[in-house]
Amino acid sequence: MEALITFVLNFIYSSATLALIVLGLAMVFGLLGVMNMAHGEFVMLGAYSAYVVQSLGLNFIWAIPISILVCVIVGWLMEWTIIRHLYNRPFDTLLATWGVAILIRKGIEAIFSRDYKSVDQVMPGTIDILGITYPSYRLILIAIIILLFVTLFAWYQKSKTGLRIRAMVQNPGLASAVGIDTSRLSTVTFIIGVSFAGLAGVLLAPLVRVEPYIGLDYLLSSFFILIVGGLGTLEGLLIGSAVIGGSDALISTIFDKTAGYLSVLLLSILFLWLRPDGIYSRR
C-alpha cells in the first residue's frame, strides 16, 4: 500500500513537472509554429536566477520576478532580431534557435563556469501524508502547478487576449483584417512562452542539478510529450505529460530504469509512426 501511494505521488509529481516544463514550448510551437530549440536554455536561465537570488541572500520568492525579467529581455531580443523574420519557415527557426541555445549555454558558462550550483529548498524536510513520508517541497510544487494550469486555461478561454490569440492561430490574415495586431501578438506569445520556461526553471531549481547544460535534458523530454500529446491544446499537453511520465514511472518501478526509458522511446516512435498528430490533435 505504501509503495502504491509513493508511486501515485511520484507519478503526479513527474507528470506535473513535465507539463510545467513543456508548457512554454507547446505555446510557442502550437500557436506560432516556431520550434524553439532554446526552450531548455530558458529553463536553465530560470534555475540560474534562483541560484543568483539565493547567493545574494535574498528571499527565494524574488527569483520569480527576476527570472521572468531575464526571460522577457532575452526572449524579446530573440524574437525581435531572429524569430520574427522566420515565421512560416519552421526549419530555419529550428536552426536559428539552436544557434541561440548554444549562445545562451556558452554565455552562462562564461559567467558562472561549468561547476554545479546548488539551490536550497524553500521548504526542506518531509511531510507524513497518507501513511508515507514525502518531500514537502514537491507537494507544494504540485499544488502550484495545478493552480497555474487552471488559471492559464481560464485566461485562454475567457480573456480578450486569449480570444485574439485563438483568432490569430486559426486565421492570421482575417485576424489582422479585423484589426488584431498579429505581429505584436506573436511577440507577446513568444515572450510569455519563454517566461513560463523560466518560471519552470525557478520552481524546479531546488530539486534538480543546476549547470549550463541542463537545458538539453528538458528539451528532449519536452519533445516526447509533444509527440504523444499533440500540439496546440492544453488537454493534449497534460495527457502527453501523464503518458510519458506515467509509463516511465510504471515500467521503471516494475522492471528497471533502462526499461522505463526504453518505453518512452518506443511510445514516441509508435506515435510518430501511427498517430503523427498525437492523441489530441487540433486538426
Partner: protein, 388 residues
C-alpha cells in the same frame, strides 16, 4: 614537364624532405620534449578540463624548474579527450605523428583509453591518470589512479563496521567502471557478512531517480554504494536527501569529488562519504603546499582542485620519474625499470607496482559542501592485473 621528369623531381623532393626530417629528429635530442596531454576540453567531462589544464601546466613548470625530463625542458600540447573515442584517438595520433609528442598523459574515461592504447601500440609511453576500474596491463601504459581494490575495499569495510551497516544497495551508471567496481564491492560485502539488497544500473540520460529511491527505501538498505557519475550523482543525491533518507542511510562513493559535492549542496550532503587518493583539503604538508601554490598561481576563483585534475600532476611526475630511471623514453626501457619507481606527489608518497601505484587512500565525510578526512588507509596495494 615530362611525366618521367615529374616523377624524378618529386622523388628528389620527397628524399630531401625525409633527409631533413632525420636531421631535425636528431637535433631534437637535447631540445624541447613535447608531451601530449589528453584531457576533456569538451563534452560532459569538460567540467574537469580547466583544472586539469592548470594542474598539468603547474606540473610542467615544476619539472622544468628541476631540470626537465632527461635534461630536456618539456612543453605540453593539449588534446581534447572529451570527444568520442575514435575522434580522441585521431587527436592523439595527430599530436604524436604530426606534432612530434614523445610521451602521453591521459585524464579521460576508459573508452578513450582503450582507443589510445590501440593507436599507440606500445610505441610511445602513456600515463593514465584518473582512478579507474582496474584490470589493464598493456605494455608502455602506466596507471597512477587508484582501483576499486584500493579505494572501495578498505573504506567500505571500515565504514560498514563503524556505522554498523548490514544491508547494501549498489547503484551506478551503466558501463564498465560501475559494474567492475560493484563486482569487487560484492566480494567485500560477502567478506564482512553483509547482504546485497539491490543492484541497479542507470542509462546516462536518466535524471529522475524516484523509482530507485522507492526501491532503496523498501529494501531497508543501510548503505548505498554510489557509482553514478557527475550530474547523475548530483541529481540522485539531491533527491535521496529530499526523501528524508539521508539521516539513516550511509552513502559511499568513489567518484564524489569537490564539484559533485557542490552540486549536491549542503542541505543534502548528510552522511555522504567519498573515498579517493586525493581531496583538495588533505592536511598533509605536500597537499597543503600544492593547494597553496595552485591558488597563488591561478587565483582563488580558479577551477576547483579535485582527485581527477590533480591526477594530471601525478601523471607527469610519474613520467618524469620512470623516464629518468630508464634513461630514455622507449617503452621497452621504461617497462623494464617501472617496477619500484617511487615518487612524491601532492597526495602522498607512491611506489609503482605492476605498473599501478601503491598509494594512500582517504575516506572523507561531507560536512556541508566541504570534505573532512575521517580516516587514512596508508599504502594500499593495487593488485596484480598482469597475470600472463
Amino acid at each position: 614537364m615530362k611525366r618521367r621528369d615529374f616523377i624524378k623531381s618529386s622523388l628528389t623532393a620527397v628524399a630531401a624532405t625525409a633527409a631533413f626530417q632525420t636531421v631535425a629528429g636528431k637535433a631534437m635530442a637535447g631540445s624541447v620534449l613535447k608531451v601530449g596531454v589528453m584531457i576533456p576540453l569538451s563534452g560532459p567531462a569538460g567540467l574537469f578540463g580547466p583544472a586539469s589544464k592548470n594542474v598539468s601546466q603547474m606540473a610542467a613548470e615544476d619539472i622544468n624548474a628541476a631540470g626537465g625530463i632527461l635534461g630536456r625542458q618539456i612543453e605540453i600540447i593539449f588534446g581534447d579527450a572529451g570527444l568520442p573515442p575514435a575522434e580522441a584517438a585521431q587527436t592523439a595520433l595527430r599530436l604524436w605523428r604530426g606534432e612530434g609528442c614523445e610521451a602521453f598523459i591521459g585524464m579521460h574515461d576508459s573508452a578513450v583509453r582503450g582507443a589510445l592504447i590501440n593507436v599507440f601500440k606500445e610505441q610511445v609511453p602513456y600515463v593514465y591518470c584518473p582512478n579507474y576500474e582496474g584490470g589493464e596491463c598493456a605494455n608502455g601504459v602506466y596507471y597512477v589512479g587508484e582501483t576499486p581494490a584500493q579505494s572501495v575495499v578498505p573504506t567500505m569495510t571500515w565504514l560498514a563496521n563503524e556505522k554498523n551497516c548490514k544491508k547494501f544497495y549498489l547503484i551506478g551508471n551503466d558501463y564498465n567502471w560501475p559494474r567492475d567496481t560493484n563486482a569487487i564491492a560484492k566480494n567485500t560485502i560477502a567478506d564482512i557478512g553483509g547482504e546485497v539488497v539491490g543492484e541497479e544500473y542507470m542509462p546516462f540520460t536518466v535524471d529522475n531517480f524516484d523509482s530507485s529511491l522507492a526501491k532503496i527505501k523498501d529494501s531497508g538498505a543501510d548503505m548505498v554504494l554510489i557509482t553514478l557519475v557527475g550530474g547523475a550523482s548530483v541529481s540522485f543525491n539531491r533527491a535521496f536527501a529530499s526523501f528524508g533518507l539521508a539521516d539513516n542511510v550511509m552513502r559511499l562513493g568513489t567518484l564524489i569529488d569537490e564539484n559533485t559535492l557542490m552540486g549536491i549542496g549542503a542541505e543534502n550532503s548528510k552522511n555522504v562519504f567519498s573515498a579517493a587518493s586525493y581531496f583538495a583539503n588533505i592536511e598533509t604538508a605536500d597537499a597543503k603546499a600544492f593547494a597553496e601554490s595552485y591558488s597563488a598561481k591561478f587565483g582563488s576563483k580558479a577551477a576547483l582542485l579535485n582527485g581527477l585534475s590533480t591526477s594530471c600532476y601525478d601523471g607527469l611526475t610519474a613520467l618524469d620519474a620512470i623516464a629518468e630511471r630508464a634513461g630514455g623514453l622507449s617503452v621497452k626501457e621504461m617497462d623494464s625499470v617501472a617496477e619500484g619507481t617511487a615518487f612524491g606527489s601532492p597526495r602522498g608518497d607512491a611506489v609503482m607496482k605492476n605498473r599501478h601505484l601503491t598509494l594512500d587512500i582517504y575516506l572523507a565525510e561531507a560536512k556541508g559542501t566541504d570534505f573532512k578526512i575521517v580516516k587514512t588507509f596508508s599504502k594500499q596495494e593495487p593488485g596484480n592485473f598482469c597475470k600472463a
